[in-house]
Symmetry: C2
Subunit: 372 residues, 2 copies
Amino acid sequence: MAGQAADAEAHRRNAAILRILRSIGSAHSIRQLITLLARETRIVLNCQRASVFLYDPDEEELWSLVAEGESDEIRFPADTGVAGHVFETGQPLVIADVPSDPRFNPEIDARTGFTTRQLITAPIIGPGGEKVGVFQLVNRLEGDFDAGDLEFLEAIAGEAAVTIQNFQMLESRRRMFEGLVNALAESIESRDPLTAGHSYQVMLYSVEAARELGLDSGQIETIRYAALLHDYGKIGIPDSILKKDGALSDDERAIIRTHVEHTERILSRIEFERGLRDVPRFAVEHHERLDGSGYPRGLTGEDISLGGRIIAVADVFESLTSQRHYRSPMPLPEALAIIRKGAGELFDREVVKAFVRVLSRLGLAEEPEKKA
Amino acid sequence: MAGQAADAEAHRRNAAILRILRSIGSAHSIRQLITLLARETRIVLNCQRASVFLYDPDEEELWSLVAEGESDEIRFPADTGVAGHVFETGQPLVIADVPSDPRFNPEIDARTGFTTRQLITAPIIGPGGEKVGVFQLVNRLEGDFDAGDLEFLEAIAGEAAVTIQNFQMLESRRRMFEGLVNALAESIESRDPLTAGHSYQVMLYSVEAARELGLDSGQIETIRYAALLHDYGKIGIPDSILKKDGALSDDERAIIRTHVEHTERILSRIEFERGLRDVPRFAVEHHERLDGSGYPRGLTGEDISLGGRIIAVADVFESLTSQRHYRSPMPLPEALAIIRKGAGELFDREVVKAFVRVLSRLGLAEEPEKKA
């Protein structure tokens, strides 16, 4: 009977672990992952609060993205308190009477007004022994925490470690890519202080216009990177033309125009991840015009990607309103009038409308209603 | 009793699923992941072969990295055969008599000499409904496949989907980053055809020397990126100096030297992932020299990072042996003599030795034994 009862318990436990793993498997962000993990485990183990503390190796701190019931992030040195002890030793702990335990750090309770009576804490350790964080459950609603509860918590912590690590790796790889894109965008402009910030500003305008048009987050991301990189091909244009004082000759203008082909050649060799496949196309089409008068391909109407049509408007507006070697910045209303005049002929009508709404929201243009 | 037997079976099944998940959780590459998944599942379900087919959306094909027993990749259009059918419909299949089933594509058996008698196939579908691939088991060693086997396979396929997707995302993000680094490296040189390929060649030399020195894969990766990016700061140097014909003045040389500070400023703002944190340091220290005569900091000896010491040797050798605006390429033996002469004073002795071994292995230098 004891054997059967133990089997039945093991069965229930495995089924619960699988249910929890399935729910965390559907998480789209580390915040959602940890929220799910904490809630599901708290319900199975019937206690008052569940907290997941993750290790921040840069700060050597543990931090809690989600301590249920607390909306603020909790953060403390990775060698303090019960969580720190479990993190450092890699050994789990059951503490039946928290206030009398010397390892307990009462500061956080004092700050949050919560009363920790009893807790179990398990380390979250990756398959290669990497210390990821700790998982803590507080105050069982009925009875005391027992060895079975701890074993369950340890199993969940072990299973969740890989998923948490994956999210962390994906996120840090995204940040690294992001940093490199910014470096690239800035380096175009490092050659010419007059255009400093151009790509960044075009990106801000484009993203706002894309939001205004109701595009989804994947399209907005694609537009964001395309806008940051739209002028990258200028890296291949000689200083003597790029920084020329005064008007450009026809030949020089032709050379400047080749920057979109440089951009295309460079970006098309980058294997963008699936959701970002259109980055090169959007970037390359920012000089195309609705009536076919643009370059490099002279595309017309909707043959120009929506991303290209958005960046086109943002690029023209940003350029007109900034200092250039050959002219002073144009006042905003004048630049806006040029954009509006081109709507339907050069620029996408809906994009121009969205752009005007963005500018008026930013306080850079009058309300669109007041104008024609 | 039937209830108890079913419970016991469910228990065994959950325990096996958790065991398999744990083993795949420790995989470091998608190849290892799928090898483990196939082997563990084949053992539990006691059959002759397990194959995981993943979807390649670019080619609209299913491909098998690991069909146990086959060393070659198997690849076919995603709408053909039983695997294609299961992939398209998202519905699992048990086929007791394969040769008589019209959905079966006999081509692969014909090619590999394997005989498929019976099979079960489950779709691998992500939590958001994304079609990832299919999981197929072939020829039970005793008896026939039954509904319980299929249910088990479906559960494993479901649990594994997220892990496979994570690996795919990490890998595609890595490729994207890699592409961007290459674009950056090439764009430095796009301004000056004479230095085209310099960063790439320095990277090849550096990586080979690092391998020769027995560095681990993480250090080698860091050196690889640092070498590709070591001259990136040149993006901020005017054409008139960068491409000057003839010798540089002291002032011009001083301006050229600022490229390492530009590199530092640009790279230090990129949040490299943990394993790559030393990229900026290695890149910036490639002009430091053992005796303190280098720049920008005049570091000495082992205060210069090993990565910096390696890239220094590769950079000098590559530059000497290439065409420059102000001189012709130096013959290899002469360049090598300069490097050797500097060993211990300018360059790290061990690095120079490793470098000479690499060159001689590449057929670019005489055997190191034959020289002093």
